[in-house]
Symmetry: C2
Subunit: 237 residues, 2 copies
DNA sequence: CCTTACTGTGTCCGCTGGACACTGTTGCGA
DNA sequence: TCGCAACAGTGTCCAGCGGACACAGTAAGG
């Protein structure tokens, strides 16, 4: 797995030249996933789109899990650069870019669940994020934990707002929201706080990303300023 | 889907009495998922564990997606009650309870991705969370967005820290971390910020949940105190 | 009592990921 | 120059999956 993701396969010396490349295979798979969802990515279809037999892919990829891993890292790509920003603006840009990546490839939400081996592109994303917090005064673990909070929030909002083509269920966007509204209208007494909260929503939708980011950044700023004023250790409770 | 999750199926009048219940089927499926992961849950195995044929399940469940939805809501269960807490402590307890639920059923991380129809238990979780923020001065949309931040962070930490039995890859916990360490040691120059951040980690692992929650709560507190001091509308930039 | 609604079974289908043996192709070493 | 070994791509086969459908058995209502 690590060899594949990090391009550490030894180049073949003898034998016929490969007719495909790992990147080309992953690109075809990404195209399929973008169009019809991750579940539509099968070995047969990927091979068919490349005009090859299914088993030919197994010369390049040990199995489907590895193909998905390569797809994931390739689809995430490299993060855009935003040099010369303070930590807050840098993190804001980082989060917006990550959200855009999820928007471009919604199936990434499925392929990035759970612990897994990270590819070079994904590690570069992490490095950029940590880099944004490098001069903030937080130490290493805090930088990583802070980045996890930001990345998790981006994931959450992406899950809420994105349409999933070929996802787990075939439910339409309207079906889900209408079902929620219908249930909450008939059984509002079971969820009083939720019902009143939903009633007071007027038109401020799609603000979840920036709202959450501002809260997270405010919370980080509290810690950072406290850390800066009292440099080491003793932090007032 | 909504009828199943919310128990709105009309009770049968004539004919033989059903030998199974929807809850029993979901319970068997949950047992399988807890033991061997969500991928191990197949109609055949669930039916076999109940000593029935696969097709008998389709009398109770229209398809596998619906079974997973019922499983999910049933496994999440009802949130524990913590009456009489201020919003910060209430949210802290809520997040800890949610983390415990993910710890008990790691496959929930897979089954709760993407937009879907929520079940009654899950809606009760949301209601409790909103309830914690009801008297905080935030309006409805902000309460929901804040809860999304907290829930997203719990998800993120759960994904990082949990072992996935029978997940997507068969990689062991040690394999993943050792692969990361090995890559970062050989190509540290490509990820300078990440490398230095990881070096400065000593023993403060598993603090990601509480660390992130404190940052989020601090950020919420900034907004809440600003909202309380200046009651409506005009918020200083 | 018989009709009718309902439960559970058996059979079949297309699809999936993958193992394996096979043919064809290419480069290196003798 | 030639043969061997390494490698690429194909064809065949398999178990398992979700699911459609027809069927037999059962229980309640008219």
């Amino acid at each position: 797995m690590t060899e594949l993701l990090w391009g550490r396969r030894p180049p073949p010396s003898r034998g016929p030249k490969p007719a495909m490349t790992l990147e080309g295979i992953a690109e075809a798979a990404i195209t399929i996933a973008d169009a019809d969802g991750l579940d539509a990515v099968s070995m047969q279809r990927v091979a068919g789109d490349l005009s090859f037999t299914k088993m030919a892919l197994y010369r390049y990829v040990p199995g489907k899990a590895e193909l998905v891993a390569v797809m994931t890292d390739q689809a995430i790509g490299l993060p855009p650069e935003h040099p010369g920003l303070a930590w807050r603006e840098a993190l804001q840009a980082w989060a917006t870019d990550l959200f855009a990546a999820f928007e471009k490839h919604p199936w990434l939400l499925h392929s990035t669940v759970g612990r897994r081996v990270l590819g070079p592109n994904e590690l570069t994303w992490m490095d950029r994020g940590v880099q944004a917090l490098a001069g903030s005064g937080l130490h290493g673990g805090e930088q990583l934990d802070s980045l996890a909070v930001v990345a998790g929030h981006v994931r959450t909002i992406a899950e809420q707002s994105l349409t999933m083509p070929g996802g787990t269920t075939g439910s339409t966007e309207e079906d889900i929201t209408s079902a929620l509204v219908e249930v909450l209208s008939t059984e509002a007494e079971r969820f009083p706080a939720l019902a009143t909260a939903l009633q007071s929503i007027d038109g401020n939708q799609n603000q979840g990303l920036t709202f959450g980011l501002q809260r997270i950044f405010d919370g980080l700023e509290v810690l950072i300023t406290a850390r800066t004023s009292a440099p080491a250790g003793s932090q007032p409770a």
